[in-house]
């Protein structure tokens, strides 16, 4: 992004005010942790103001100044509180050093339109700080889980060893537990059986229906659409209640009349229930992709002698594939992540991973849950990346620039 406004150096009082506020804010925390808040505020503010004065009027070398703040505060932190102190001190030093020069050189002004008043500039940055705080709220719970899953103790909290970055404090034992414990392994396997089959059912039926719905003359289009999307709208607990009654009868019927194995019937019930839940996602994504599909392509294919099946697989399918795959991913994650319906419809031998986590959270709290959670976060990162790549591909195909 190009600079919008020519920048010039700012007066010292402004620099002192801003870095003083920042130093005081950090000092408040350090101070309260050590007994006296107000003293911490004073020391923090004074420290940064003095440093700023020193750099601006004496040192006059930006690189050296920032290096000194970073290293100096890191070492001070280490002397005061060991490893955690080193990390926190170094972070504080890096930000403080950067901030002094960012203010002094007037760099903060460069990317803001030149006509803004000082008040507007202040609001511009205050707003970004607020947004940053909300992003922190969004992401922290997920990030906190990751290190805790390497805890050597059976605790849900950071132990003193972990905070000292002592290797003793970390271990892979919860991961080992996950991969060796029968309960977890069985539930993981169940999830891997149920989710793909349910996905295949909802994707194949859903894609066909979406293609049907996108034709120009479909009687009762709105009503059909409403019915097909309803599994997404109806609260899960209600779907689960309805399916509970329904599938217990179906299950009895399949066991007694068709003579199927009890276990197999259990899987069929859960797979069908999950397939229904995934359908709205497939319908929505595939219809959205079909909106941009050029209908004359199928007519051209038919003109050249291709039958409808060939046209579908050779012309239409490759073009709408991104939509189909992302719908499939949604359906997969819906089933893989689903717990209410499986809790009601399934029996103990169909226990899936989320179900096992749910009982784990409610009854015997074991940190293995955190290891599982970490693995699941990695899976969702992989899914997210796939989706993003698909989205870009689909935009390229439609001739839009990747945004």
């Amino acid at each position: 992004m190009a600079a919008l406004t020519p920048i010039f150096r700012k007066p010292f009082w402004l620099v002192a005010l801003v870095v003083g506020l920042f130093g005081g804010f950090i000092g408040l925390f350090v101070g309260t942790a050590n007994g006296s808040g107000p003293l911490g505020v004073l020391i923090g503010a004074a420290l940064l103001i003095v440093l700023a004065w020193f750099y601006i009027y004496v040192l006059k070398d930006e690189r050296a100044g920032r290096g000194i703040t970073f290293a100096g505060l890191g070492i001070a932190g280490f002397a005061a509180a060991g490893m955690p102190g080193l990390v926190l001190g170094a972070i504080f030093g890096a930000i403080g050093g950067w901030m002094i020069y960012w203010m002094y050189e007037g760099r903060y002004r460069a990317y803001v339109p030149p006509y803004l008043t000082p008040g507007q500039v202040l609001w511009h940055f205050a707003f970004r700080v607020i947004c940053g705080a909300i992003f922190v709220f969004l992401i922290t719970p997920i990030l906190v889980v990751l290190p805790l899953s390497f805890n050597a103790q059976d605790f849900f909290t950071f132990t003193p060893e972990m905070l000292r970055f002592d290797p003793e404090g970390y271990s892979l034992k919860h991961y080992r537990d996950f991969f060796s414990n029968n309960e977890w392994q069985r539930s993981f396997k169940n999830s891997l059986i149920i989710a793909p089959i349910a996905t295949i059912i909802s994707v194949s039926l859903g894609t066909l229906a979406a293609i049907g719905l996108s034709q120009s003359h479909v009687p009762g289009r709105r009503a059909i659409m409403a019915i097909l999307i309803s599994p997404m709208i109806v609260p899960l607990i209600i779907s689960a209640t309805g399916m509970f009654f329904f599938y217990s009868q179906i299950g009895n019927w399949m066991e007694s009349t068709l003579g199927l194995d009890k276990n197999l019937v259990g899987y069929i019930k859960v797979v069908l229930a999950h397939a229904v839940l995934g359908i709205p996602f497939v319908i929505i994504t595939v219809t959205a992709t079909l909106v941009g599909f050029d209908r004359s392509l199928t007519r051209a294919a038919a003109n050249m002698g291709a039958d409808p099946v060939t046209t579908f697989f050779r012309v239409q399918m490759p073009l709408i594939l991104p939509g189909v795959i992302s719908g499939g991913l949604f359906a997969f994650i819906t089933s893989f992540d689903e717990v209410v319906v499986v809790l009601f419809v399934g029996s103990a031998s169909q226990k899936t991973l989320p179900w096992q986590m749910f009982t784990g959270l409610r009854e015997q709290i074991s940190p293995t849950i955190l290891a599982v959670a970490t693995i699941l976060v990695c899976i969702s990162i992989a899914l997210l990346t796939t989706l993003e790549m698909l989205r870009r591909r689909s935009e390229r195909l439609r001739g839009m620039s990747p945004g």
Binding site: M1, L138, I142, G212, V218, S239, V339, S380
Partner: protein, 423 residues
């Protein structure tokens, strides 16, 4: 040339009138479209709409009493329960006959369980008396009035018979009345006794907390959506990941993360204690109450608010704001009179979505809500799996469903169901 210009209908290549030919091809096209939709439609109708219809039916279905005690119900109809007198011998005889049949089919305990929802003690009464009635002979052991009262003196209690009479109708509104803290009594509809009134509290709490959660989501989501829509595409995409990652992360993972964060020995409390803001012996109680539920659910539902808001805000031209300012509007006026009204559709869409999702939530309140922060859905789950009062669970579900459908209709009016976007 002149002989092709006749006044007859325009013909297609094969000689049929063009109108007819077009109509036929349109019909074929419609049929083909329907044929493609049909498998899925049938599947959804059969395995989703039908079960929900069945659930709705179950909320009024009360045929148990009439099926197990057909004779008794028929005779008991004429009995006046308000007179305070016990029914006569004919009722007792019919009852014994019905019970003998029911005990053979082992259905009397089911009936006991059903009536136990209305009056505690009925279940054990039926179970215990069942064992003794089994030994009776219809021909020789009369008169049954004395015999039954000897077996259990509750059969000599007018209330017992009143309960059977009140709940002998085939289709009842009783479950719905129970669902709103009322009950069917021999004297008509009445309010539940004080200690049994919990449903209205739960309904009110569900609505109230869903509103708070929706409000929090609007408050937190608006700035984020704004900044995503106004930053240059490259940095906006990076920040979008921070929104999408929680969206894609398993619900159970996020719920367990919040459990880790909010516990008494959890991360937030630890940090506060370490900072000296909270004393070690007076750690904050922020889990197993409403605060815990609201915090965790706001976090979980926030992406559902940000995404629709973002897609609306993307379409708002930034030039409008600049134009307003150049015409002399202050920052606030420009935002409030020009930008905000254009972003309202996004707020509406997001709010309805979040509200619909939150009033049906079960997992998160169950884990971080304790007893004070649970929703009506937790009560439904309780009646399905623990108390086995399925009729009541179905009635609660039906009421919840009605609320959601009204909101869904509103969503369709405001946003249009075709415009739902994902990711």
């Amino acid at each position: 040339m002149s002989d092709t210009l006749n006044n007859g209908p325009v013909l297609a290549a094969d000689g049929t009138p063009l109108k007819k030919s077009l109509a036929r091809s349109l019909r074929v096209e419609k049929l083909r479209a329907l044929a493609l939709v049909a498998p899925l439609l049938l599947f959804v109708l059969f395995s989703f709409i039908w079960p929900i219809g069945e659930m709705l039916f179950r909320s009024v279905d009360n045929r148990d009493v009439g099926q197990v005690l057909p004779e008794t119900v028929a005779i008991l109809k004429d009995w006046d329960g308000t007179s305070g007198e016990l029914p006569d011998e004919a009722v007792y005889k019919a009852f014994t006959a019905d019970m003998l049949v029911a005990i053979d089919a082992k259905e009397h305990t089911k009936l006991g369980t059903r009536l136990n929802y209305e009056k505690t003690g009925m279940s054990s009464l039926f179970r215990k008396s069942g064992r003794k009635i089994k030994k009776l002979d219809l021909e020789t052991d009369g008169p049954f009035k004395e015999t039954l009262i000897k077996i259990d003196k509750k059969w000599g209690d007018v209330e017992t018979w009143k309960v059977i009479q009140t709940h002998s109708v085939n289709y009842t509104n009783g479950y719905y009345l129970n669902a709103i803290d009322m009950q069917r009594t021999p004297d008509g509809v009445a309010v539940q006794p004080e200690d049994k009134r919990i449903m209205m509290t739960l309904f009110k709490r569900t609505l109230w907390m869903s509103m708070i959660i929706t409000g929090m989501c609007v408050l937190l989501g608006y700035p984020v959506a704004w900044i995503l829509a106004n930053l240059p595409a490259r940095s906006a995409n990076l920040l979008m990941i921070l929104v999408l990652l929680p969206f894609w992360t398993s619900l159970l993972v996020r719920t367990s993360a919040w459990k880790v964060m909010l516990q008494q020995q959890g991360v937030i409390n630890d940090v506060l204690v370490w900072l000296g803001m909270v004393a070690d012996d007076s750690r904050l109680v922020i889990i197993n109450n409403q605060f815990g539920t609201v915090t965790a659910m706001t976090h979980i539902l926030l992406p559902f608010m940000i995404l629709p808001m973002y897609s609306v805000m993307q379409t708002i031209q930034p030039t409008y704001l600049r134009a307003a300012k150049s015409l002399g509007a202050t920052n606030w006026t420009a935002f409030w009179r020009v930008y905000f009204p254009q972003s309202i559709p996004g707020i509406g869409a997001g709010s309805i979505l979040v509200f619909i999702l939150s009033i049906g939530y079960y997992i998160t309140p169950e884990i971080v809500g304790g007893t004070k922060g649970v929703f009506i859905s937790n009560r439904i789950a309780y009646h399905i799996s623990s108390s086995l009062n399925w009729g009541l669970a179905a009635a609660l579900g039906a009421i919840l469903l009605a609320v959601v459908l009204v909101l869904y209709w509103a969503y369709d009016k405001i946003v249009g169901i075709d415009n739902v976007k994902l990711g």
